[in-house]
């Protein structure tokens, strides 16, 4: 198998894994944690946390 084909297969494999990761994260409620952090002023980000 040539190098380019290997790269394409790896890319599609990783894309599939990324979709599973996103779905799994959504199912276990990670977006709520992201939102909770993002809608309050992040004291660490601005250097006083």
């Amino acid at each position: 198998m040539d190098k380019d084909k290997k790269k394409i297969i790896t890319a599609y494999g990783l894309l599939l894994i990324s979709l599973f990761c996103m779905l799994y994260g959504i199912v276990r409620g990670e977006p709520d944690t992201v939102l909770r952090k993002a809608i309050h002023i992040c004291l660490e980000c601005i250097g006083i946390g």
């Binding site: 990324s18 990670e30 709520d32 992201v34 939102l35 002023i41 992040c42 980000c45 250097g47 006083i48």
Partner: protein
């Protein structure tokens, strides 16, 4: 006809505008608190910037990993992996809001320098230590944390947060200014060093410090969007490596982790031997 460079700038401006469309946040001194912030911007853009409408992926990754409930963010890693596999570091070149800011600093007409190659590895160390390890490990050694890890990269390093979050918020909040201490001095110093470095070194932050650039750089080798070199047309004149702002030799390393797919080599190649595209099987090298 609009040149590739202008097209890229227009895409960068559109992305910057979309990620920072809550403009009245500056006047109100408040940050956007809508549901859109559940989504992550694929580039560096602090979610404590009053104008930010999306979350910063680096901050979000640390927030989830450092929370009581989780110690790894599948959601954010999934988003970054998907963007990285599709576009690689083209995200840095076209979408990242802080990338655009750095390019504006580089417009200051002073002599430009190359960054020593070994410093480009620093971003991988920062990613591993400050983004992945410390938010999870710190609560184990500190009972005062209550099981919640600090977003170490945001807290100790990120100049994006200082520029986009600290300065606008502190200028409108007396109470924030009054509690700023040594940590703020550290972060402000890093910001000043970064800005000065960006004036003299093209995209210094991207090259040396950005953990997102490290992630996308690792995926550059297999991303769908890639550089293609037509070796039949190429005369090895060296123009491409000479004009590359990221110090890459596209002929030798078209999949380099540093290439942000800005297309400068494509524009300047006298033989039109370089292309950016998604069909990688038709490469003639």
């Amino acid at each position: 006809m609009i040149g590739k460079g202008i097209k890229r700038k227009l895409i960068q401006l559109a992305s910057f505008g979309f990620c920072n469309s809550h403009i009245n946040g500056f006047a109100e001194g408040k940050i956007y608190d809508g549901k859109l912030k559940t989504l992550c911007c694929p580039g560096m853009n602090c979610y404590s910037c009053p104008a930010a409408t999306l979350s910063c992926p680096v901050g979000a990754m640390q927030a989830v990993a450092g929370s009581r409930k989780f110690n790894f963010s599948f959601y954010v890693v999934g988003i970054l992996l998907a963007f990285g596999v599709m576009f690689g570091r083209a995200i840095c070149g076209y979408i990242c809001p802080f990338g655009l800011i750095q390019e504006l600093f580089a417009k200051i007409p002073l002599r430009k320098f190359h960054l020593p190659k070994w410093l480009t590895y620093l971003k991988y160390v920062l990613l591993a230590v400050f983004v992945v390890l410390l938010p999870v490990v710190m609560p184990l050694f500190s009972s005062a944390s209550g099981g919640v890890g600090d977003p170490a990269f945001c807290k100790y390093i990120c100049p994006v947060g200082t520029l986009e979050g600290s300065i606008p918020l502190m200028s409108s909040h007396e109470e924030l200014r009054s509690v700023a201490g040594s940590l703020f001095i550290l972060k402000a110093s890093i910001l000043v060093i970064t800005i000065i470095a960006c004036i003299f070194i093209h995209r210094f932050f991207c090259k040396a410090l950005c953990p997102l650039g490290a992630i996308y750089g690792l995926l550059n080798k297999i991303s769908f969007l890639r550089l293609k070199i037509d070796t039949k047309k190429c005369t090895s004149c060296g123009t491409c490596s000479h004009v590359c702002p990221m110090d890459v030799n596209p002929l030798k390393y078209p999949d380099s982790a540093e290439c942000i797919r800005c297309g400068r080599c494509v524009d300047k190649c006298p033989e039109k031997a370089i292309h950016i595209g998604i069909k990688h099987t038709d490469r003639s090298s």
